[in-house]
């Protein structure tokens, strides 16, 4: 699981914040891993790389505040706050995969991926990427498939050319010049297990003012705090 979306881990949410001011989107995420089956739903509020809030409503009430190198997790019912600090930036693979379509290169150029080949068959375009040096020992290539200019597949191949992680994008909705996938399926294959994560997005709103209760959210003074170093 640590290899979650290897190529997305190389990306930073900052890359996409240049192209979008705000985003608000409801989601439903189902994770099938080992024998467990977890469903989570809520709303993501994104303003910039220093302001991302995930308001979880199911299965429990949980609010996650993502800063650059810190993550605060607040449980409103228990009135508990966990303040997590990390040396590395926090990443949100399931939201990054949604935002990544904003950039034509899916944000791969910035961390050092390079195109080494492309093939066009009718309305389908395959683009082959060479990984940057820091991922050279894990990945041999990253392949992306576009149908009618919409990203429909992205796969990471290991050094034995085995597909280890792939993402299927579908049900696109167009906003200005970008087709956002409303359904994303992430499959991770390891030697022992396979994990499948399915994310469904609803009613995305771009560049609209975020709700005041989110923008100016204040924790109650009585909150019970706990610090964790990641």
């Amino acid at each position: 699981m640590s290899k979650v979306l290897i190529f997305l881990l190389a990306l930073s949410i900052e890359i996409f914040s240049q192209n979008i001011e705000t985003c608000q989107v409801k989601f439903r995420r189902v994770v099938n891993y080992h024998s467990s089956h977890d469903t989570t739903s809520g709303t993501i509020y994104f303003k910039n790389s220093n302001f991302t809030i995930i308001d979880i409503k199911l299965p429990i009430n949980q609010i996650l505040f993502f800063g650059k190198n810190d993550l605060q997790i607040y449980y409103p019912i228990e009135n508990k706050l966990f303040n997590i600090k990390s040396k590395n930036p926090f990443s949100l693979p399931f939201f990054l995969s949604f935002l990544s379509v904003i950039k034509e290169d899916n944000g791969l150029v910035e961390p050092g991926f390079q195109i080494y080949n492309s093939q066009k068959v009718d309305d389908t375009l395959f683009v082959f990427w060479k990984p940057p040096k820091n991922l050279n020992n894990i990945l041999s290539k990253q392949v992306m498939k576009f149908c009618n200019d919409k990203l429909v597949f992205s796969g990471s191949y290991d050094l034995n050319d085995k597909l280890i992680v792939y993402v299927i994008y579908s049900d696109h909705v167009k906003y200005i010049n970008t087709s956002f996938p409303l359904k994303i399926r992430i499959v991770q294959n390891s030697s022992k297990n396979q994990s499948i994560e399915e994310i469904e997005y609803f009613q995305p709103m771009f560049n609209e003012k975020l709700p005041e209760n989110i923008l100016y959210f204040h924790l109650p003074p009585t909150v019970e705090r706990k610090d964790i170093t990641w």
Binding site: S2, I54, I60, L71, Y75, F82
Partner: protein, 130 residues
């Protein structure tokens, strides 16, 4: 008659509150147990034994110190939508298992390094004596 009704209501309320308390405690325990199990399982899968035996071989087992010096990162996506009890149990058991696996395999690697070194020195000494 009135007193009997009050008594019945009181007993019913007590039973309801008691049942809720027991249920809440059981839920907390379930979350802690599940978080602990998931944390251990994920750490086992995330740490490559072969890699850390190799690192242990190269460093003479000193890679054992790695988890003592550096904070061990935890997968963030696993705590989204999870309760506070689950999250705390998950983080603690994930780190403990990861640390244990890194240190055990570093020691195995270190053992191989020192074992091979001793055999090498003995063989060289024997050949010099001849």
């Amino acid at each position: 008659m009135k007193f009997k009704n009050i008594k019945t209501i009181s007993i019913t309320l007590f039973v309801i509150f008691f049942a809720l308390a027991v249920n809440s405690f059981a839920q907390t325990q379930d979350d802690i147990t599940k978080g602990k199990m998931d944390g251990e399982q994920d750490a086992k899968e995330d740490v490559s034994s072969i890699l850390w035996i190799g690192v242990g071989c190269c460093t003479g087992g000193f890679s054992w110190l790695y988890p003592e010096i550096f904070d061990l990162s935890v997968p963030q996506t696993k705590i989204v939508g999870k309760s506070a009890d689950y999250m705390q149990a998950y983080i603690a058991s994930y780190r403990a298992e990861k640390k244990s696996k890194i240190q055990t395999n570093s020691c195995i690697g270190g053992g191989i390094y020192w074992g091979v070194s001793v055999v090498y020195v003995v063989l060289v000494a024997a050949s010099v004596n001849k």
